[in-house]
């Protein structure tokens, strides 16, 4: 198989790689914020349960979580494994990344000076208005470098979907590597991820710069 054929075949999986990536961000970023707020809840039961969930999600391999979400329903309830693997893959990724994002959000929110809340309170902002308008925009600026880190990791983690045979770019590459007994597909995959992350770095850098209008 020629290099060009390999690249073309693997590119066909790029759409699926991107689906995992963008859908995970779409769900995990807001979900992480909700989890962070639950984690900081004054209700000890709520915050305790959330803390345990976060620690399980961060303390076990993503690969295991992928397998659990994809095949768990079959073993537990006899539900047949869905043919569209994108759904379980995105669910597993979103939950896993939400746990990481939640801790980043929490760090950002807790680093906000109490004076910002008090100023808003005295001016009559409701708690919700204060959070949305005053706190969250500043938190986002503060946590952006840590978020970039996670996003870069997410790009590479999409390759984990091969464990449930979801036909994304890396899974296809691995199949070609096996059938052709060649290492070349892995090099191609490496280049793909590197370029993908170069774009991520560029975009996140632009966003950071845009938020740099204040200190």
């Amino acid at each position: 198989m020629s290099l060009t054929t390999m690249i073309v075949k693997m590119s066909e999986g790029l759409g699926k790689t991107c689906s995992i990536f963008f859908l995970t961000l779409l769900f995990a970023l807001p979900l992480g914020l909700i989890v962070a707020l639950l984690r900081m809840s004054k209700n000890k039961i709520v915050s305790g349960i959330t803390r345990v969930c976060i620690s399980i999600l961060r303390g076990t391999p993503l690969m295991l979580q992928l397998l659990a979400v994809t095949y768990g329903p079959f073993y537990l309830f006899g539900v047949s494994v869905s043919r569209n693997k994108l759904i379980p893959v995105v669910i597993a990724f979103s939950i896993n990344y939400a746990a990481y994002f939640a801790e980043i959000y929490r760090g950002g929110i807790e680093s906000m000076p109490v004076g910002q809340y008090e100023a808003a309170e005295v001016l009559g902002y409701s708690k919700f208005q204060c959070f949305i308008r005053i706190i969250l925009p500043q938190v986002i600026k503060r946590i952006l470098p840590s978020i970039t880190n996670e996003v870069v990791t997410l790009v590479k983690d999409t390759s984990m979907a091969f464990t449930v045979s979801y036909q994304e770019m890396f899974t296809i590459g691995k199949q070609i590597a096996n059938s052709q007994t060649s290492f070349v597909p892995f090099i191609v995959a490496g280049v793909f991820y590197f370029v993908f992350n170069a774009v991520v770095d560029f975009v996140m850098g632009r966003i950071e710069k845009k938020l740099n209008y204040y200190k």
Binding site: Q116, A119, V122, L123, G124, Y125, K141, Y213, Y214
Partner: protein, 254 residues
């Protein structure tokens, strides 16, 4: 004269420490009241109770005849949120370290709350804000961000932000304590201008000369109680209580 603010038998404790003990104070319209005293005397706590940033453990808090909190045998009972929201619009607070919103321009810092909270017309609020900035000598800074301003300028913006809500009373919590000595003058000048316009103000301050010049009533606090109060020339220049004399002497020695 009308009483804008009445605090009756206020008690406040943090854990087992009593910070305010049976404290009673009232502020009349157009009065400029200064609260002085050593640190830890409870003056900032009193201000935070009055501005609803802290809840009192006992006593009444009344703004223009409306109860924000009513003292009962079980402690202070606060009014429902809707009433508290209305009461909150009757006063403003200027913080020691400004607490401007760093991600907002000067103009947005001033205009957002009147538009968002008081539902006033944006154009009208902005015109008023520009007037306020002019009074503060900052009309060319409306588009700047707080980080581009000096401490004194930031504090003037935060005074404008409080004034834009048209408060009946303006509280100041040590408004010059976070500023370099050469910058305190500009803030004191602004407060003096407001006093000339008959703005009702309550000022916690360490600036004795300023307190004497600008206020018509001075309260000296120590250990959570009012030790001495009255005309500033009496309290500051001719104190009668031992604790007041000690405090003022120590200030002079510095």
């Amino acid at each position: 004269m009308d009483k804008l603010l009445e605090i009756n038998h206020c008690r406040k404790r943090f854990g087992s420490t009593e910070v305010l003990t049976d404290l009673t104070l009232s502020v009349e319209e157009s009065q400029v009241l200064s609260i002085i005293g050593p640190s830890g005397s409870g003056k900032s706590t009193l201000l935070r109770c009055a501005t609803l940033l802290e809840t009192m453990d006992g006593g009444d808090l009344i703004y223009m005849g409306r109860y924000a909190a009513r003292g009962t045998s079980e402690g202070s009972v606060y009014a429902p949120p809707a009433e508290l929201k209305k009461i909150k619009s009757m006063f403003g607070l200027v913080f020691q370290n400004f607490n401007l919103f760093p991600h907002y321009s000067v103009l947005k810092n001033i205009c957002e709350a009147p538009v968002l909270v008081q539902k006033r017309d944006k154009a009208e609020v902005e015109a008023e804000a520009m007037d306020l900035l002019k009074q503060m000598g900052l009309e060319d800074k409306y588009n700047a961000y707080p980080c581009q301003l000096s401490g004194g300028q930031q504090q003037r913006v935060s005074i404008a932000r409080a004034l834009a809500m048209n408060p009946g009373i303006l509280f100041f919590d040590e408004p010059t304590s976070a500023l370099d000595p050469e910058l305190t003058g500009e803030i004191l000048r602004v407060i003096r201008q407001l006093a000339e316009k008959k703005m009702t103000m309550v000022i916690v301050t360490h600036e004795m000369n300023f307190a004497r010049d600008v206020s018509d009533y001075v309260v000296f606090m120590n250990g959570g109680v009012i030790v001495e109060q009255g005309d500033p020339r009496d309290v500051i220049d001719h104190p009668t209580q031992e604790r007041t004399i000690q405090f003022l002497r120590r200030l002079q020695d510095q």
